[in-house]
Symmetry: D2
Subunit: 361 residues, 4 copies
């Protein structure tokens, strides 16, 4: 978490602006001998890429990822070598002229003002460095992280709340997520949600959402006291995603209303003689270390700030004005956030796995 | 956030167990020539220390902090020298026998099981390293951080929700916090909350709570893209506090229900010609960089896991048993969490200040 | 210094193999508003690039660097934006077949064996990740570092010893370095050294050398106790360069033979009333912090391991064999190491400058 | 190597000044279940502690180390728990008055001036933070590191050059080191060296020295490309020791005079079918990764700067003066540097071991 780098041992550094020639990442610290090719990356990138449905931005990007280093094929197919893995995606549809009129005005809800305030300069084209386009690289890195984790750890996420429309906890079905264009964690809500989001979209508006995350197969013992807590790392990872405004683990904010008797997860011995928890209010983490239960979290996304309705703002020269987004945008940025949430969880867990292995063997 | 160290440039490393001889921290990277003495630390430590009211644990600790290095008095009073500042607090009331019967059983909701699973050994006495006693050092480090930040930045927190009892946002008054034993951010709720928490306490139960945080005076420009986001650092800092299960910035989870028009904070020019935001749904952060508005966050604490009611659990030898806490405990751990939330915010901001100064000057 | 990343605040991450499609680096933490274009990089890269004379490898690489992110031209020419700067160089002349016969044999003196031992796989083509080709990126990053440092700090290096041929300390003239193909720090030695190195080259042999470094204009106060010492950072930077086997600061190993009276640099007041040192055995560093005197160091390079004479070795399948280098190589790898030494010094100093500014302002 | 912290996974943070109440360190990242007690520390500390012979400072310090955290005795003796290990040594003989007259004058060769220049304040008492007293903590941390490494890795060092008196490479005998008060790596030189150093001591002068280091039992594969090279880490570790001015690995500066044929270490198969090197010019490292051969290095120490002869200097108020050391001092600081060199090597190797285990398993 050092500016543009994430992770301690499984380290991801990203670079690139929305409308520059390309974006890329370097994944360092990856174990060797893991089969990895560009074909592994593409299906995951496709889930996040623009243009996939009417509910996401119509920017045309194939999001084709190339691996430029760190893998080698010595006859049995490409494997990681332990050297840094450079992944690169060219920007193809960078219509800078779309953004010409906002070169000077700060779009409300965007990072335009803060980048200018911090650096005294900003690449305004499409949001530059602050564009959600950067998250494609998180997805790519997440694929590598999943490979590091292996088959046992399964990471899934999905939209469980769209605006004020909620999926009941007992109805959450992560298997449904990639079968509907809303990334909804229930097939049942899709028709109603589609109608609702169509309305939002046609009005040139946007809406927030909540994404739920679940990682199963995480063994007990990953994470570390007291500042390297697994949930602290996860919270940072999620909050680093564009538009995220809240993170909760397990019972989360709901735990604030619980009595101690209701919140503590009782332990018994399972049929195989191994410890089992009867509930999972902890969300799979106690004292910053995984319990062996599913790791569960919920992530709140604000609505896309790019909307049709003109918003009051100022220019960098200190003139009051109004600005609206005429370019392409997502009516609900959380949708494409689903694979990003999964990817960041994968990176956190791969890092935790390596760190655990380092200290405990 | 490397195991037991927090921060990048303003770095805090803590050590010590609940029932060891002492606990301590090392604050490295502190700017020189800042007046600092033990007398500066004590008032803040006293706010967190046990035994202050019937609503917190009755463990008797004076929590007297000694500064063992990094300050020097050359005639004008002690100032920081730029060298690491070691702060130490002796453990005085470590009644290990209170915990003798839980040496083998894993207390539900505590980190007993996960520490054992990770390390194969744990200092069970009073929770050892996972005890909330460690947070005294965060408070001490937070005092140093406040000194680094100076008078302009003001950091305040308070309990705004106790169980299901809420203080309305418009009624939040941080000035009230340290004038009542509940650290409640409103004097009005205190009688009712006291009655309620007395009931919880007498029943040997516990309850969760939400702590609100506000930092004013933070200039626009602190923080960094994209993994070093100010809100990502803040989320990690808060989630690293014992018992915290959720963090939200600005509108937080509420933003998930907002339309883009409602969420985006419009900008105008103030009377002094400087940018002003008409609302603050962003909570003072856009794109991971501070806007100059108040930094606002809310932190959810789970109920204390130590309760009188016996809970089902197992021993490390794999035997099913029940365990209850007969030792001293806090009926609502969030109360003493208030100064800890403030301290962690101070550490995050001091670190952000130094990092900003490094890159931008 | 985390695997493939160098620096704390001015951070350089490199990636790429000798015979992959490209090599690249990401420079993160660079201050904004620094003019920077590809034209700035090229002259320095040209100094290191192959094919420049008969004394360096004849591999044909234009070493044309492209900047893919982190700079923006808002009308007054491209400047850094504070975002990560991605620099990329395509590999053009990657004759993998030259190396076909050494795919299995470990070349003595190279990292072939150790990479295989560590990772169980290696990109053997041209040395893969361990190739000195990576140092082109150090030179590119060094250009950015020089820009951060500004005009006041001047960093120069040159060959002062070639095999057993030495330039006397009082004859060292860094102005001569880039005017002769040997990067010798004296024009006087060039004819004799050329004749000597021609002999080495024609014999298919190689020879070691020592490069001297001097940085002037470094103000007193950069660096930090006690593990972040400026000379410790510099030593790590130099030792991380391919083929380097020794580093000394100031009087270096010579200081081992000095008495305290001879070694300590006396201080007086200069004409301007500022402190001056009468000698500089310290090499510009005391206690890990710069004194304001020139920073001086010497760096020992071993001879190129690629030589024509067959050397005894084994294959990765455990068979004894002999291997010689028929590909292109440098008779003295230290020559092209000169701009690399300068670049690493620039990176160390830029990092130290930002770190100092962070802590002290 | 972040200011006062050393290491990546096996992390040592030290604090404390020469004449403060105590000095201490925190060792974080240590694997659990390693037997460790205060009795383990003392023999190593005793080797470095002052007052052991007439050749080292007569300051009276028992250097008794207490372990305040991170170990727990659950019945089978104290073992590490994976939590941070705090080690503390009280300062007993801090005669501040000895240094009263140098409170304002900068001692030549010391860090007085640079600390003042950097921080604008310095704890002048006995050198404050820059005192070699800090190295006691390195020795303590080194004991923990040795425990992490286990019995297989053996780390030894000794003085091989005292002023211009050298021990021939073939005569180096590390077994002799702790049997003579000069830490000389040969019993044969002791009488002559004692006579020589007595002369230096009686003259109130000092002399430099070279310490050789050897670590056997390091398996092939530790270390990492390209900035995390094992030798780069080792160089930084050594250069961070007080008074060190040079580091060389294997043939070191001598490699600059070698031809490629002479320098490259040929490989053959040993009797057990495993790779063996016929020579070790590389010093056990190729491409930054260990070869499995002994790791060898040489470290140059400058003479103690504290000498009886008055040296020209200035005061912090800008007045020219002279200063001499009337306090206790070491005629050759390298002597007590021997256990420090060993300890730093142990820390580097323990860190490398954990990092290797993390990435490769």
């Amino acid at each position: 978490m050092s500016h543009n780098t994430f992770g301690h041992l499984f380290r991801v550094t990203t670079w690139g602006e929305s409308h520059g020639p390309a974006i890329g990442c370097v994944v360092d610290g990856c174990p060797p001998l893991i089969p990895l090719s560009e074909a592994d990356l593409q299906p995951w990138l496709d889930r996040r890429k623009p243009g996939g449905s009417r509910f996401v931005t119509q920017r045309r990007e194939s999001d084709t990822a190339r691996i430029l280093s760190g893998v080698f094929d010595d006859g049995d197919g490409p494997v990681t070598t332990g050297a840094p893995i450079a992944i690169q995606i060219d920007n193809e549809d960078a219509r800078s002229k779309d953004y010409g009129d906002i070169a000077r005005a700060f779009r409300p809800g965007h990072a335009d003002y803060t980048y200018q305030a911090k650096y005294g300069v900003r690449d305004h084209r499409g949001g530059g460095r602050s564009s959600a386009r950067e998250t494609a690289l998180r997805v790519a890195a997440g694929v590598v992280a999943r490979k590091v984790l292996g088959e046992t750890v399964r990471i899934r996420a999905g939209v469980v709340q769209l605006g004020s429309h909620r999926i009941a906890p007992e109805a959450v079905d992560f298997d449904a997520v990639y079968d509907n264009p809303l990334f909804a964690a229930s097939a049942d809500v899709v028709p109603a949600w589609e109608a609702y989001l169509d309305g939002v979209r046609k009005a040139g508006s946007s809406i927030g959402a909540v994404v739920a995350l679940e990682a199963t197969g995480v063994p007990a013992g990953w994470g570390a006291p007291v500042y390297g807590k697994l949930d602290a790392e996860l919270a940072a990872a999620m909050m680093s995603i564009n538009a995220v405004k809240g993170v909760e683990i397990g019972a989360g904010f709901g735990a604030a209303e619980l009595a101690g008797e209701a919140n503590a997860d009782a332990m018994r011995l399972g049929e195989d003689g191994r410890p089992v928890f009867l509930t999972n209010h902890a969300g799979g983490v106690l004292g910053g270390i995984s319990t062996g239960q599913p790791l569960t979290a919920r992530v709140a996304f604000k609505p896309t700030s790019s909307i049709l309705t003109p918003g009051q703002t100022i220019t960098r020269d200190g003139i009051e004005t109004e600005v609206s987004t005429r370019g392409r945008h997502d009516p609900c940025v959380a949708l494409r956030g689903v694979p990003v949430v999964e990817a960041m969880a994968a990176c956190v867990l791969a890092d935790a796995m390596l760190r655990h292995r380092a200290q405990v063997g």
